[in-house]
Symmetry: C2
Subunit: 189 residues, 2 copies
DNA sequence: GAGCGATATATCGGTCCGATATATCGGTCC
DNA sequence: GGACCGATATATCGGACCGATATATCGCTC
């Protein structure tokens, strides 16, 4: 998860850990809550594996700013992480949302497949939760009922939301097309 | 987190690990996704600490059903975990939602304080996200914009939702009152 | 009584969090 | 100039939790 986020941000420009943390928080909001306790070790691991590199070499980094940039190997790793989406990406909102932040780098058919598979998952969950809510409503306290209602509402909302995005995708010409839907990749007006 | 969930469920009736996992999933839906890899160790730890106990003693549990029940020490631990709510309970939805499942066991003033403190947190986050969205909307790709929009909408929705619950709380006579809002604790019709 | 899917427990490696410690930078106040 | 301080920046440790894997048992059908 964090690896993907770090590499995705480093694709835009080289950064140091502190800045990465800030950008993750501000771009992903509640979905990118990572701690330094995982961020810095992750950067070290990525460096060791050759996915990112830094100017000042291993000697005596002390505690000065340490700017990392992504390597070609890192780009490949990013692509691999982005394309292979296990069940957790479909079933966990945070994982899905992190992917969404990098949808522009994803092959349109992967994008569509992912949205549809999450939609399917949510549909199934909605089914179960709605049934369960109906069954046990009478024997449960009001707070627990409220909790389940929240879950049902969210599932319904997210399904509509995904449908809108899928519709937009189609309108922009993605049965299995190339990159659309990004207004101007670098037109940083 | 898991400790609280386990103890909370065991308050209703003794259960074994497998059943606990099922009930967590069905009662908490997407907010109670715990794995066996943490559940079983947690049960062992709680047993070692005297918070739960089981019939068949330590000798040769092999792999037969292992029913745990909560002890008085466990009840105290539950109360302590429920009342002390650090920043993560305010800032992380899952942690807050898990608490919600046990709101009926909470002192009304703790309940109110918790809802208000989450409301405050969401309000602050909404502020930041809305500003950030306005600022960077033009330079970002459509998917990232959609991600931020989702975050803003959710915050707004959750604030309204909390306001409704706080209003209900007040209507049911909780400035600082005792237990209301639970229709019939055991009227398992 | 063999076969099998659901029930049930255990464990390992690895990711991530939360707390804590430490260093550096850029002011500003005297 | 140097003492102080808040923001910037990195590092590390213990523990919670996940995901994968292994294993045992139960109840059913054939």
């Amino acid at each position: 998860m964090l690896e993907l986020g770090v590499l995705g941000l480093l694709k835009e420009k080289p950064m140091h850990g502190y800045e990465l943390k800030q950008r993750l928080a501000e771009q992903l909001g509640p979905f990118g809550r990572f701690s330094y306790g995982s961020l810095y070790p992750t950067l070290k691991r990525l460096a060791k594996d050759g996915a990112v590199e830094t100017d000042l070499p291993k000697t005596e980094a002390s505690r000065r700013k340490n700017v990392y940039r992504i390597t070609p190997a890192g780009e490949s790793l990013f692509d691999a992480l982005l394309e292979e989406s296990g069940p957790s990406v479909t079933e966990e909102r945070n994982a899905f949302m992190l992917r969404l932040a990098f949808f522009r780098y994803m092959k349109p058919e992967t994008r569509t497949r992912l949205m549809e598979s999450r939609r399917g998952y949510l549909q199934g969950r909605l089914q179960k939760m709605a049934a369960s809510l109906k069954n046990v409503k009478e024997k449960m306290d009001a707070y627990s009922v409220e909790l389940m209602r929240y879950g049902v509402n969210e599932a319904e909302h997210d399904i509509r939301w995904l449908d809108d995005m899928l519709e937009t995708e189609r309108r922009n010409g993605n049965g299995t097309n190339s990159n659309a839907a990004a207004p101007t990749p670098e037109g940083a007006r």
